[in-house]
Amino acid sequence: CSEYSKVLKSNDLNYKFEMAKKYYDKKKYNKAYPIFDELLNLYRGTAQAEEVYYYYSMTLYKLEDYMLAAYHFKNFYRTFPQSKYADEAAFMTGYCYYLESPVYSLDQTYTIKAINELQLYINTHPKSTRIEQCNELIIELRQKLERKNFERAKQYYTTMQYQAAIVALNNVLNDFPETRYREEILLLLLRSNYELARFSIESKKLQRFIETRKACEDFLERYPDSRFAKEASTIRERAMFQIEFLKENQEYGS
């Protein structure tokens, strides 16, 4: 430890830098960090600045401060676009945001940032060996967003807010045309339509049962062998019965 305080007190910048790198290589990131931090200011505008900054950013990454690391990696490849580390830094920006991205049910600001940064990397480094990894990460992140939207829409169904469920589920289908949840969404849509129709005021019933029937048909057309196909056809039959009944009543009325 006495060696460490000697390094901290030293005025020899080169010595400090060498020692900081040594600590970094020995994975003593907590020790390396304050030195790099200090050197960053002292080396500003000099030849070593680039390397110090790279180490500084990497140390932050190793210390799992991904948010700050991402910021500095980004700053790094903007400041030193021709550096030998620029490619890595550009990737690390996105990757740090990826690591910072939380579970789907929390705020997804970093997920979106990660997608943007990784996509930027793919666009600017088309020949990189990391492209495949980037694509995998982006898919994972997009699936997170997809799940978030789906779960939110599904919650409206769970809490019996059927009209809200219909709007929100349709939004998921529009936003994520290739969604993994299509079968479940179509099922929830037909159920929501049916529940909404059943408890509607008389004047809206007919229209809503017609929509229910359509939702059932959409489901059956796409998933005729689904294990919910039976439920869908049952609801369709009930809706059709209601439609006929309501139409007769209407004619009667008029």
Binding site: A47, L106, T159, A164
Partner: protein, 813 residues
């Protein structure tokens, strides 16, 4: 420029054959090229974007005083460049002279000059302005700054800045002269000027500094004041400031042109199809003949604080694209005719509802509270209610809650985006104090308000606690060694099953009170053990309105007496089981939980046990107390209501009334000695655990108001079965800061406690009054102290109760 002039032909492409660096002392060659983005071998055509960009890139570093790139030589199509850079000096240190230390420290805060920053002309200028502004705000108008730049010889290219300040004298206002005002008096206008006041030696609290910026604002206020009373063209013709020679005082002269007073005449509505003009007029509340007040008009149209304006009327019905422009169509003498031009637009429905900023709380916990749902008509009132309810969750900083409706006129829809900022929701309670004859009481309490039970076994979720599902977990342990111990826990899931807001609460406790011998079997041992378990289900009701909640619980308590005196005749040893059903109906429409300013909270409670004796038909005439109390039987009801009225901003009157009654099914068994009421004192439930119900009454000793009428007879069997209590409390929130809300209070209370229904005398009350203070901090909960004076003698005493001090922990009154 060295060498001979070089002819460059525009439009011709050259190759850079070499780049040299000049001027900069310790800059790295490669780094400069890296920043500039030019390299040997690059091809350039003049005029060159590349060179311009290189200069720009170098400027962006903010490290140089001067940057030039020029061509130094040419051979054929190869050119040689030189980059000339002049470093800016860095700040090594700075000093301030001419003023006292406290001001120096304040100025250092203002200036924020760090060692190593690059010293530019701009930096010097802004620093100077900061200093002058600092002094201006303090009323020093003659202050001057002299800035000295010295080269620091200890470091290369570093400078020392010196700020020599001459403060001058502070200027105060002697008098404010107003000219041309007839409709408003001098006094009224001076009162309007909030920040510009005359110097009056008798009023030491009033500052009479002159701050130009504030003075300008005050002039605006004068105009506003005139407009309020119908002088819509009022203006300040001239304002002058004269320094009184030889003194540090100024006089202010303000010349006003009031203009004519105008009145509203005819108001016509155009374009309204949804609401007839009469309805709009009744919302507007402006009559023909009212003074023309543009501010009031705009408030009535767009910005009523209670949301009763014309705009809100439409906004609450989905008319998000609603647009209203009042136009003065005719001005005749002193009367103005207004035409309200309305474009209603179509009704907007909500499309997407999103939340962001929830770094801890899961979506579903927030989404289930949000009342703006996809497919609904857009309503402003839904948004307001959602905001209120989100803040009541207690998980987010109420000040930073935000909502942003993004309308999409093409589709007639609107996306609603909520933004939340998480705040700490866990409370730690560590307390030590004196408890009813038991010595020092130590408590460790933990409450986690945004708990996630399903993540208990997920290691990653412990950051520091599994959170985000909106559940509550409370753990408490309280002990005074072997004399008294209490352990309790409770867990609440507010949305059981996630379908509806039906809450499930499970709680349990175990307490031991022990005097004398330590071990079971020791003849000296006197102990009371109580074990309790409660399972409760709560639900929000939609009828009669949705402020109602219903709570039902099954509760079980087991008492074990071991040579223990509870004040029940012939019952010192034995068991008692209290198995009861409780139903609580609550209506709570208060605006915020901690310091409510509006609304009321009413609670009706019924608690009952099965009528065992009636079911079994057993004759209890000769039964022993153990037989009578083996299964307790009673029924009990309580009514509790509190109303909050905001008298003035942050000044709230809370009016409270409560009463309770307990009865027996079987006359032979009689009233249960358990579950009785004890009135008096701070009302803290913690210290006495023997199955009694404690009701606070400040100004009297804890548990002192009991019907038996004997001093110190506050044992279990002596409690009352019918009580009532009334409180009026005036609270003033002096610190609305959510991290520490503080309010002092004044109270007046009255209450009494009776042994039977027949003894009940509604106007025979123990009265008290007093004052106190409360502080609420999210980490510690509510803490407070009250000093109350009891006017009446406590039962068993002959002189008035007098002054009593109460310490409050948690919400009691």
């Amino acid at each position: 420029q060295s060498g001979e002039p070089v002819d460059i032909i525009e439009g011709l492409e050259y190759e850079i054959g070499g780049i040299t660096l000049a001027g900069a002392e310790n800059l790295d060659y490669n780094l400069v090229l890296l920043i500039a983005g030019i390299n040997v071998g690059d091809r350039v055509t003049f005029p060159s974007d590349k060179i311009t960009r290189a200069i720009k890139n170098l400027w962006k570093q903010k490290l140089f005083e001067d940057i030039q790139i020029y061509v130094t030589g040419k051979s054929g199509r190869i050119i040689y460049l030189e980059i000339y850079l002049k470093d800016l000096p860095r700040l090594s240190k700075y000093y301030i002279t001419g003023i006292k230390k406290s001001r120096r420290d304040e100025l250092r805060e203002e200036l924020k000059l760090n060692r190593g920053i690059v010293v530019t002309d701009n930096l010097i200028l802004t620093s100077k302005n900061k200093i002058l502004k600092y002094y201006e705000e303090k009323g020093y108008f003659d202050a001057s700054v002299e800035i000295v730049t010295e080269k620091d010889t200890a470091e290369s290219n570093a400078v020392i800045l010196g700020f020599n300040i001459t403060e001058g004298e502070r200027i105060k206002i002697r008098d404010i002269y107003l000219i041309g005002n007839n409709a408003l008096t001098d006094r009224q206008l001076r009162k309007t000027m909030k920040e510009t006041k005359r110097h009056r030696s008798f009023n030491i609290f009033r500052t009479s500094k002159f701050i130009d910026e504030k003075f300008r604002e005050d002039l605006e206020k004068i105009i506003d004041k005139y407009q309020e009373i119908g002088h819509r063209d009022a203006r300040i013709i001239k304002d002058s400031i004269y320094k009184i020679p030889g003194e540090n005082f100024i006089n202010i002269y303000i010349a006003i042109e009031e203009g004519n007073k105008f009145y509203f005449r005819n108001i016509t509505w155009i374009g309204n199809t949804k609401y007839p003009s009469e309805v709009l007029n009744s919302v507007l509340k402006i009559k023909k003949g009212d003074p023309y007040d543009a501010k009031r008009l705009s408030e009535r149209l767009y910005a009523d604080p209670n949301g009763n304006d014309v705009n809100s009327l439409y906004m609450d019905n989905g008319y998000l694209f609603f647009n209203l422009t009042p136009v003065e169509v005719l001005i005749e003498n002193d009367s103005i005719d207004l035409e309200m031009r309305i474009r209603e637009g179509r009704q907007a429905t909500i499309n997407r509802v999103t939340v962001s900023g929830n770094e801890r709380t899961n979506d579903h916990v927030i989404m289930r509270e949000i009342r703006t749902r996809p497919g609904d008509l857009f309503r402003k009132s839904d948004i307001q209610r959602t905001m209120r309810e989100l803040s009541q969750l207690g998980f987010f900083d109420p000040q930073q809650l935000n909502v942003n409706p993004v309308p999409n006129p093409e589709t007639g829809t609107v996306d609603v985006e909520y933004t939340v900022v998480e705040r700490s929701t866990s409370q730690l309670e560590l307390q030590g104090g004196w408890g009813g004859g038991l010595g020092i009481v130590g408590t460790l309490g933990l409450s986690f308000n945004n708990f996630s039970a399903r993540n208990i076994f997920n290691k990653k979720a412990w950051t520091p606690l599994p959170s985000g599902d909106g559940q509550t977990l409370n753990l408490r342990a309280q002990s005074t060694g072997r004399y008294f111990q209490n352990y309790s826990f409770s867990f609440t899931e507010p949305w059981l099953g996630g379908k509806r807001p039906n809450s499930l609460t499970i709680s349990g406790y175990h307490s031991v009170q022990n005097f004398g011998g330590r071990r079971i079997g020791d003849p000296l041992r006197q102990a009371l053990n109580i074990t309790g378990l409660t399972v409760g289900l709560g639900r929000r009701l939609r009828w009669p309105d949705d402020y109602f909640t219903l709570y039902q619980a099954l509760e079980f308590q087991h008492y074990r007496l071991d040579n223990f005196e509870l004040g029940i005749p012939n019952f010192r040893n034995g068991f008692s089981n209290n198995f009861s059903y409780r139903i609580v109906l609550t209506r709570n429409n208060t605006d915020v939980p901690i310091f409510p300013t509006r609304g009321s909270n009413t609670i009706f409670t019924l608690k009952l046990t099965p009528p065992y004796s009636l079911l079994s038909g057993r004759d209890f005439t000769d039964a022993t107390p153990q037989e009578k109390f083996f299964l307790l039987e009673y029924y009990k009801f309580k009514f509790n209501t509190t109303w909050y009225t905001e008298i003035y901003k942050n000044l709230v009157l809370s009016s409270h009334a409560e009463m309770g009654f307990m009865g027996a099914y079987n006359r032979t068994i009689g009233l249960s000695p358990f579950e009785r009421f004890f009135v008096g004192g701070d009302g803290l439930q913690n210290f006495v655990l023997d199955g009694r119900e404690i009701i606070g009454l400040r100004g009297y000793m804890n548990n002192s108001i009991v019907p038996s009428g004997v001093a110190g007879s506050n044992q279990l069997g002596n409690g009352g079965v019918l009580y009532s209590k009334y409180t009026a409390e005036l609270r003033f929130l002096i610190s609305p800061n959510p991290s520490a809300q503080i309010w002092p209070l004044l109270f007046a209370e009255a209450g009494n406690n009776f042994g039977s229904f027949n003894e009940y005398r509604p106007f025979q009350l123990y009265r008290s009054t007093g004052a106190g203070i409360r502080i609420f901090m999210p980490m510690f909960g509510l803490l407070g102290i009250d000093i109350g004076y009891g006017f009446d003698p406590m039962p068993g005493f002959s002189s008035p109760s007098g002054w009593r001090t109460h310490f409050i922990i948690g919400q009691q009154f």
